[in-house]
């Protein structure tokens, strides 16, 4: 279980998160949505311990602020929004940076399998720096996957925190990445993702969280969050949400966006 309560983050004197609560269960994908500047990434960075916050975050009932870096690394992996690499490492070397001594199994096999999972089998020997932006993002996902290769550990579920995991990917790879997140959850792990794309969030998320101006304005199932009223309020424009009939995945389509 991932539990965050009363998360507040201030940059200087300006508070950007005003007391956010969040609960996510293992076996689920949680999508955090909201307009630019609503505090999505800041919330994720509080959950991963990358920003100073007040309130508490526990993963599997353990307070993250009391865990050492290596203990946290055994519990969760983090995919940043943008990752730069400063030396000409190969793709395989980058993936294996996520594999510390604590990961059970043959590291070379896990790295190769993680690369295969993101559709980059055979890319191990390539120079990371000359890959396209989308390929680099998938290599980073493979690194994250490798770090939490076994979704369930002795200390409970492992977690993936993804910051806009599909931002520079084409349509097919967006679906692949969301499928990977979903599979990870279905194998017993937990996923929390900051998402820009509402449709993908509704398709693949078990739960959605809509932030606006540093507060949660709606949380729950995609059907509960994806309403005309909530989205219009959050994004400051008129939004109409249509359910797609006959789709089991509760696929809801916002469209007919007009200025208010």
């Amino acid at each position: 279980m991932l539990e965050a309560s009363d998360i507040r983050v201030a940059f200087g004197r300006r508070e950007v998160l005003h007391g956010v609560d969040l609960r996510a269960a293992p076996g689920t994908v949680t999508c955090i949505v909201g307009p630019n500047g609503s505090g999505k990434t800041t919330l994720l960075r509080a959950l991963t311990g990358d920003v100073t916050f007040t309130g508490s975050v526990t993963i599997n009932a353990r307070d993250t602020s009391r865990l050492r870096a290596w203990e946290l690394a055994a519990l969760r992996a983090v995919l940043p929004q943008a990752a730069t690499l400063s030396f000409p490492f190969t793709v395989e070397e980058v993936v294996r940076i996520g594999l510390r001594a604590g990961t059970e199994g043959d590291h070379a096999e896990i790295a190769a399998a993680a690369l295969g999972r993101v559709g980059l089998a055979g890319y191990g020997d390539r120079d990371y720096q000359v890959l396209s932006g989308g390929e680099q993002q998938r290599v980073q996902l493979a690194r994250v996957l490798a770090q939490v290769w076994h979704p369930v550990s002795r200390n409970g579920a492992r977690w993936m925190f993804l910051d806009e995991p599909v931002s520079s990917l084409d349509l097919g790879h967006q679906l692949d990445v969301m499928r990977i997140a979903r599979d990870f959850a279905e194998a017993g792990g937990g996923v929390v993702a900051v998402m820009h794309d509402l449709n993908l969030s509704a398709m693949f998320g078990h739960q959605m969280l809509c932030l606006s101006e540093g507060r949660i304005i709606a949380a729950g199932s995609p059907e509960a969050v994806m309403t005309d009223a909530t989205l219009s309020r959050a994004y400051g424009c008129r939004v109409r949400v249509n359910a797609v009939p006959g789709d089991q995945a509760a696929f809801i389509l916002p469209h007919a966006v007009q200025p208010i």
Binding site: G49, R68, V78, F87, F89, V91, E93, A187
Partner: protein, 355 residues
């Protein structure tokens, strides 16, 4: 998802590169022994390989002159050169990993200047001004403090929110070097003739003043610096993806940074204290090694130390030969060969991403 598929790994260059880089440890160690023997035999008094081996193993007693030449002049000089080369090269590799940039070098970003200022302060003022100590051990300690202050200060200035600005780092380095130079100028102005002569040669970089006493003062911190550097390999690899990611995969980033800065300050400080301004070893050696065997710090750091030792011994031997019977300050040689390599790295990178 849970089960690892029966995927047979193809010829994984990443893994292969590390294995090859580790085999280089042995190769460099052998080369180090070879150039050491050549260096011991080279100079005004020629010593044959057999004589050196017999003398070193204690199998044969040398004549008085040969004994002094070998044991009191060349051996301490050889060991000092090896230590200095190893310290400068591994410090360079650590700095580059820490700043996430292949252009970081103790000489270029002002760490050596800081160490130099510390050393000059003690050389000129030592013993004559209250609270400034003197003696063989005071110089390396002062140089270490200068190097530490500069490295730490530069890192604080050029890193904001986990991102290191290379432009800021290089420019701040220039400012620090200028300030250190100006302060050093004040002390040089105050120095007497003998001190001036010492300082000039010291500035150019030379191993001519090597002695067992100086080696005893500088050797242990250099050894400690190299051992510390070599433990940082996995952490510096992760740091290549940024501080946040390094923390996410399980490294205590603040501790790693402190260790890296301490290692650089110890190594550079002690090296500068004993040999003066020998430049470019720290940038050339790691860069060439990265081209040859990849950037994996787990092998790069130790290879840098070994290769740096080899390079400096070769440079010192050449410095003794080219203008014989006089000898060239070794810093001139390393700059003549190193500066063009630095420019070459700059030009290659310009094509990639600017600086």
């Amino acid at each position: 998802m849970v089960a690892v598929t029966s995927y047979t790994a193809p010829g994984l260059r990443g893994t292969g590169r590390l294995a090859r880089a580790r085999r280089l440890h042995v190769a460099f160690a052998l080369v180090l022994v070879a150039v050491s023997l050549v260096s011991l035999g080279t100079g005004a008094t020629g010593l044959s390989l057999g004589t050196i081996l017999h003398a070193l193993t204690g199998a044969e007693a040398l004549g008085e002159v040969d004994r002094v030449v070998l044991f009191d002049i060349r051996l301490p000089r050889l060991l000092t050169g090896a230590a200095v080369g190893a310290a400068l090269a591994s410090s360079g590799a650590v700095l580059q990993g820490l700043f996430r940039n292949p252009l970081a070098d103790p000489g270029i970003i002002g760490v050596s200047s800081g160490a130099g200022l510390g050393a000059i302060t003690v050389i000129v003022l030592g013993g004559s001004v209250a609270f400034v100590p003197s003696g063989a051990y005071a110089v390396p300690v002062a140089a270490f403090l200068g190097a530490w202050a500069v490295t730490f200060g530069l890192y604080c200035i050029s890193t904001r929110g986990g991102r290191t600005s290379v432009a800021t780092m290089l420019l701040a380095g220039i400012a620090v070097a200028a300030l250190s130079g100006a302060l050093a100028g004040v002390f040089i102005y105050m120095a007497d003739d003998q001190q001036l002569r010492d300082l000039t040669f010291w500035n150019l970089g030379s191993l001519a003043g090597s002695s067992w006493t100086k080696l005893a003062a500088s050797g242990p911190p250099i050894l400690l610096a190299i051992v510390m550097a070599c433990t940082l390999g996995p952490a510096l690899n992760a740091l290549a993806l940024g501080e946040a990611t390094a923390a996410h995969v399980g490294f205590e980033v603040e501790r790693v940074k402190s260790l890296a800065i301490l290692s650089v300050a110890l190594g550079t400080g002690a090296a500068v204290a004993v040999s003066g301004g020998i430049g470019f070893i720290g940038i050339v050696v790691p860069h060439l090694l990265r081209l040859a065997t990849g950037p994996d710090h787990r092998a790069l750091l130790f290879n840098s130390a070994l290769c740096g030792a080899v390079l400096l011994i070769v440079a010192d031997t050449l410095a003794r030969i080219v203008a014989a019977p006089a000898e060239l300050p070794i810093g001139i040689l390393t700059a003549i060969f190193g500066a063009p390599v630095f420019l070459w790295i700059l030009l290659r990178r310009r094509g990639l991403e600017g600086i």
